[in-house]
Amino acid sequence: MKRILALISHSFQVKLLLFNLIMVILTAAAIFLYLVNNYDAFINKSVTESERSVEQIVNSLVTQYVREKRLSTWDQLAAAQDNLSVLGRMAQNIVNNYSEISVLLAASTDAEAQETIFDIMLFETGLQEVRYTDEDFALTSDASASVDAYIPPEIANDPRAIEKVKIIGLLNIAMEALYDANDNNASVYFIGDEALPVMRIYPNNQVFDSLFLKEELGLLYWRDKFADNAAEWERWFITPDLQAKYSSPLTVEAPYVSDSGELVVTMFYPLWDYETSQFAGAVGADIQLTSIVDNILDIRVTDNSFSFLMNNQGEIIAMPEAGVQLFQVEFSEIEVGGRVYYRGRLSDSPNSEVQFMASLIQNGDRGYDQSSITDQVVAYESLPPLTSKNYSDDVWKIVIIIPENEIFKTFNETRESIKSQSAEIRLSSLAILVAFLFVAMLVSLRFSAAATRDVRMLAEAAKQISAKKYDVEMKLSSRDEIGQLGRVFETMASDIRDYTVNLEAKVAERTAELTEANEEIARLNEQLRGENLRLGAELDVARRLQMMILPPDKETRRIPDLDIASYMRPTDEVGGDYYDILRVGDALFICIGDVAGHGLPSGVIMLMAQTAMLTLSKTGERNMENMLSILNKVMYNNIQRIREDKNMTMAILQYKNREVSMVGQHESVLLCRKDGIVQSVDTMDLGLPIGLQEDIDGFIMTSHLRLEPGDVMILYTDGITESVNLQNELFGLDGLVASLKRCYQLTAEEIKEHILAEMFAHIGEAHIYDDIAMLVLKQK
């Protein structure tokens, strides 16, 4: 895992490839899932819809089918009932007119001459005695009679029985026709009342023979076969409410299996003696259910479908073997009145589903159900009610059972094929997707390789360069930024190569140059040092000269009348400040001046000024203005000659007998009178800077003052007043004046020390920019 991560993080190509793949895969997977889901949903929906419509169609078809069966079945049953009803009403007619007909019959048997209606063949009833024991005999018709008759031995001797048989013979007109009219008639017959249960039966199947064989010759029909019926029928005839509910007295018995093994149902149309309000017998018909049942059972919807007939009590009337097996129905044999009933109830099936279906069918009139029995479709329809023997509704039901897989076979087959096809489609889609992804991967590989080839080439080139192999050649094809980068790289690489190749040569060259230069520098240094020494020596000389020229203290102390103190401090070795005190006769010349700048040139000019002043003083010139004018000319010319660009300030004072006169522009002269008041004598108008122009005559003026004893005069250069402290604050004229005021009473020397002390205190650590010179003259 670590290796894979390392691989990814180290390769741009792999990153690009991965990115491509992830994008493609995500997109394709998302689309695929979406489409497949939609497709599935669509197919499922279609199938469900189709299923529903197929079910609906099957439902309507099957119910329609059952309904048809119901109709056709009922047609037959109704026809049988109608058929019997006709016969019954005819018989009732006869019963109603029985007494009159009886009279008619008596007349015919009594009178030999008069023929009656009963003599015609149609009504002829030849009764034969048939002995079966020594004592007993029954009466029956012979084989050739069209309608069979039977009088049981018990009433064979009763003439009323014979009379009844004969009178009922009137039915002969209709019996055959009516019998033929309904194909389902097995036989039609008349049974007399309970007291005289004589029988007339069509067709003539020699009932005697069958009774004889069964040893039932003593048959009393009502007593032996249908014991309860008479009482029920009687109820109908005497209950108007019942008659309202059931318009016809006709009742239908439960189906049973006949002697010949046929399923038969017996219908009765009871007769009533209205004169005596008594049961008068009944007309009956044995209806073969075979064709009816066949019609019902013969349902071929699908191969394994079947139908059956059941009644409202859940008893099976007819069911094919397939149904019996499927529903696990058990039939029990019951014999009632000589008739064999097979009773099997659907709801007695051990199968709970069948029980459920049974109750469903019993409780509904009609229905279509797919849920009660697994994999079966159940459709049922109720026939209109038959009247049972106790005048209640006997509703028969036709039920069709169709296996689901058979009726939905086509649909199921289609659905399966759709499913398999959709599975195929899904698979093929997946295959296409995989193929697509595979192609996408190949393309991504190719693309990422191409796109990153240039980058990798660059990286390789950079590696080479860093390994000091400068001969890189990159054939970058693209013209995009990477290609540009590559070209720049190549240029850089060749530059680097040149540099490194030439570097050594250049270094060697340079080293040689440097060595040469170094040697030159060393030589020059030596020279400079030499010069410096010389200069130092020269400066040393100049300084000494300067100091030597200043008036010595010895001399200044010997001056009568004035207590003089002086001070000079140059900033460099040689200064530009100048003062002098010259004794000329009885006068004293005091000069003070300041050459612009400082250093050797200023010092030289200062010396020149001193010499010039001294010379002048020796010439005997006493006019100070002349002196200044000449001094200016001399200085101007000399300064020009030595090609210096400097000037100087200069003030010349002459002192004689306490009178002071001064010329020249310099700092103001301070005069502190003996009472402490300080005057400042401005010299601005007394001249112009010396050496600036040749002629300054127009600017020279003389100023006078007189000293009294105790007065102090201070001459100074601007080095004092323009000295600054670290905060750039000037000592200033104010500072000087203030200092003077504090010490004017002291000696000149003391005053000088005092003022200097205060000035230096003011300056503190600050730099001293200018030369400092001061003369203190106190009038003695």
Binding site: A596, G597, N647, M684, L688, L692, F699, G732, Y769
Partner: protein
């Protein structure tokens, strides 16, 4: 014009074309006259322009707190030079609160009357 200003750590001299004024600011303590040569060049150049445009050059010293003797000498030299040319005069503005200006600027006027000095 080539040089419009002359400056150092503590001072600034600049020429404003629109007002034809050279303004001095700060403290000038250059050691020698040679060090003040660029100032002289500047002054000569702007004086030339002023003369050519018939306008008066103004030198404004009101913000110049201090200038040493070499500097004053350079200014004096400049005035003497233009006195020799004798073209238009110049106008000088000074600050009465700065002590050196009273004396030195007055001298410029003495050197050449066409130097009009206004202090305060």
């Amino acid at each position: 014009m080539a040089v419009q200003e002359f400056k150092g750590n503590d001072y600034l001299v600049e020429y404003d074309e629109n007002t034809h004024t050279v303004t001095f600011q700060g403290i000038m303590r250059l050691k020698t006259s040679n060090d003040y040569a660029p100032l002289s060049e500047l002054l000569h150049a702007v004086y030339d322009i002023a003369c050519k445009t018939k306008l008066v050059l103004t030198l404004d010293f009101r913000q110049l707190k201090f200038i040493n003797s070499s500097g004053i000498h350079a200014l004096s030299r400049f005035v003497i030079d233009i006195r020799t040319e004798n073209r238009s005069g110049i106008h000088v503005l000074g600050n009465p609160d700065i002590h050196w200006q009273y004396r030195s600027l007055k001298n410029l006027s003495k050197l050449w009357p066409k130097v009009q000095v206004d202090i305060g």
